[in-house]
């Protein structure tokens, strides 16, 4: 008999936690890594914008209105002679902040409410979902105008405004997922083994319902950016001349017959950001899926 102390057992599965394993698999997914790197590079570019472009986002060169892209202005100039590339880069700060941080608030509120409603069921589910119904019917525009009048309009008020209302969709989505999965066999099994509610939700229900939730989050990024543009119309959020991709698009729309670049470049930026998050999100979901463990 071979002594177990001096023989290596081959083909033993390496021992990983769910998350550690996920990280390894994520690393192998080229598209997801590309997406992640793009996001990181964009964030760094936004932070170090002054080093990348000599132009300020506010400097108006009134002799260079609505110019086409050229060697002097890589992406052209806008209606007040400001460099579009510079505005896009500085605008990334606002749009990334809004797209990402607003999400955190939305998830922070929507996830617990939806999860609790789905898992608990019964009266609590009913009460929470009727509250969600009220939020759906709520006139957010009125609330936002009032918010600006009382609290003034700054970036924190913007997060508040977006977060307060946008969580309903995620809440209902998660609740639906959990309702569907709740009655599956492995949940009963976990229950039988003595798992308690929150543990089951966190360890088993959520990872299995991630797919649609990640998609919803990805779609909320451009949605948040456009909401920010709409809110800046009322005066909440960043103020001119601070650019954001959403306001660049709405300003560009007004002059679209004069120059379609004004709309094209910020829209392209949003699209690229969303694709990056899509690939990253897909990769994350694949990585976390227990079924795909090799």
């Amino acid at each position: 008999m071979v002594s177990s102390t001096n023989t290596t057992i081959v083909n033993e599965r390496p021992h990983h936690t769910l998350w550690g394993d996920a990280w390894i698999r994520l690393r192998r997914n080229k598209l997801a890594m590309a997406g992640g790197i793009f996001i990181i590079v964009l964030t760094l570019a936004a932070i170090f914008a002054p080093l990348i472009t000599p132009y300020s986002f506010a400097h108006q060169d009134l002799n260079a209105i609505l110019e086409n892209p050229s060697s002097k202005h890589w992406l052209g100039t806008d209606g007040l002679g400001r460099d579009v590339f510079a505005r896009l880069l500085y605008g990334a700060r606002t749009s990334l902040a809004v797209g990402i941080f607003a999400q955190l608030i939305v998830i922070g509120i929507g996830l617990p409410i939806g999860a609790v409603a789905g898992y608990a069921g019964g009266r609590l589910d009913n009460a929470l979902m009727r509250f969600v119904d009220v939020m759906y019917g709520f006139p957010d525009l009125l609330l936002v105008i009032l918010l600006k009048a009382i609290l003034g309009g700054g970036i924190y008020q913007l997060f508040l405004a977006i977060g307060l209302v946008a969580w309903v969709n995620i809440a209902r989505l998660i609740r639906g997922q959990i309702l569907a999965i709740k009655s599956r066999e492995f949940v009963s099994a976990a229950h039988a083994m003595g798992g308690m509610g929150p543990y089951i939700t966190w360890r088993h229900l959520l990872p299995n319902s991630l797919g649609p939730i990640i998609v919803s989050i990805t779609f909320n990024i451009p949605r948040a950016i456009f909401t920010e543009a709409a809110l800046s119309f009322i005066g909440i959020g960043v103020r001119p001349p601070t650019p954001s991709w959403g306001t660049m698009i709405s300003d560009g729309y007004a002059v679209i017959f004069a120059s379609w670049y004004q709309v094209f470049f910020p829209a392209l930026a949003i699209a690229l950001l969303m694709i990056a998050f899509t690939f990253l999100g897909d990769g994350l979901r694949d990585a976390l899926d227990p079924k795909m463990r090799r």
Partner: protein, 305 residues
């Protein structure tokens, strides 16, 4: 099930009351009133206007009058459209918005679910990437830009359709496409994600290993089970489409109710605001109810305790 529906209808009334109270309060708390304008009206005229429309009465009296009117089916009058009542305005505009919204919804559903499933079943092939590309484009280009692009290409350049308006079938094509773009993209991606998850479930492997035809596996097992999240978002999407999109209706000059809500708020048209808010809240609460019923239909394991 009937008891469930009745209970939900009762809750619906409560929800509508709460929403109406919140809206009424917000309307009067917000700065600016219907008579504020850049060329200020004389104080006597403002006083006369307030008296004419009952705005000089205390808050609870106004709200009470509103509720009383509601019991008689009267949603009030509009300051922006003074020759019709709010009820008439909604009745005239809603059919147009509903037709447009339903068309867009069916379009989004068909295109979205089809492409989503195709992308999931052929994950990582060209069809998957095309699906990702298009859904991203439709999500990152806002409705007004998409709308004007459609108009420029299909009206001004190709002369296939008129640029807007309502009345003939040719005027529904472009707005329906513009309206359906984002929901279609969303539904495609959700369907894809959900289908992928369902495909990996054990019972699907079991079905396949039993030797069932791919088509049978698809319809009997995958389709049904991946629809839960799709149904969840389809409900609110349908409600949103049917109560109108301010952007699409503005660009295509469609005389529906979509614009009325936003216009009413910016004009402080109290009657119009209350009418449209209640209408929308009603539609979406019903939509959520239908979604919850559909959960039970799709997946019999789902029970409401």
């Amino acid at each position: 099930m009937t008891r469930f529906v009745i209970r939900r209808v009762l809750w619906l009334i409560l929800v509508l009351l709460v929403v109406s109270f919140i809206t009424f309060s917000l309307m009067h708390l917000v700065p600016g009133g219907p008579w504020d304008r850049d060329k200020q009206l004389a104080p006597q005229v403002v006083a006369a206007l307030n008296a004419k429309y009952g705005l000089d009465k205390p808050f609870y009296v106004q709200y009470g009058n509103f509720l009383l009117g509601l019991l008689h089916g009267d949603l009030g009058i509009s300051y922006s459209y003074q020759d019709r009542s709010v009820t008439q305005i909604l009745m005239q505009g809603f059919p147009k918005t509903a037709v447009l919204g339903t068309t867009a919804f069916i379009l989004a559903l068909l295109v979205g679910i089809t492409f989503g499933m195709a992308a999931a079943l052929r994950q990582n092939t060209w069809i998957d990437y095309v699906c990702v590309m298009f859904s991203t484009i439709f999500a990152s280009v806002p409705g007004f830009v998409l709308g004007i692009l459609l108009i420029i290409v299909f009206s001004v350049i190709l002369h296939w359709f008129p640029t807007g308006g309502w009345g003939s079938p040719s005027q529904i094509v472009m707005p329906a496409i513009a309206l359906a773009a984002l929901p279609a993209a969303f539904m495609a991606r959700i369907t894809r994600a959900s289908t992928l998850e369902t495909m990996r479930q054990d019972y699907v492997r079991t079905a396949r290993s039993k030797g069932l035809l791919e088509r049978v596996v698809l319809i009997r097992h995958i389709l049904r089970n991946s629809l839960i999240p799709v149904v969840t978002i389809a409900g609110p999407e349908f409600a949103a489409l049917v109560t109108g999109s301010v952007i699409v209706e503005t660009i295509f000059s469609i005389p529906g109710i979509g614009r009325l809500f936003v216009q009413g708020i910016f004009a402080r048209d109290y009657g119009l605001i209350m009418g449209t808010v209640l209408f929308y809240a009603f539609v979406i609460a019903i939509a959520n109810l239908v979604v919850d019923i559909l959960y039970g239909v799709i997946d019999p394991r789902i029970r409401y305790e």
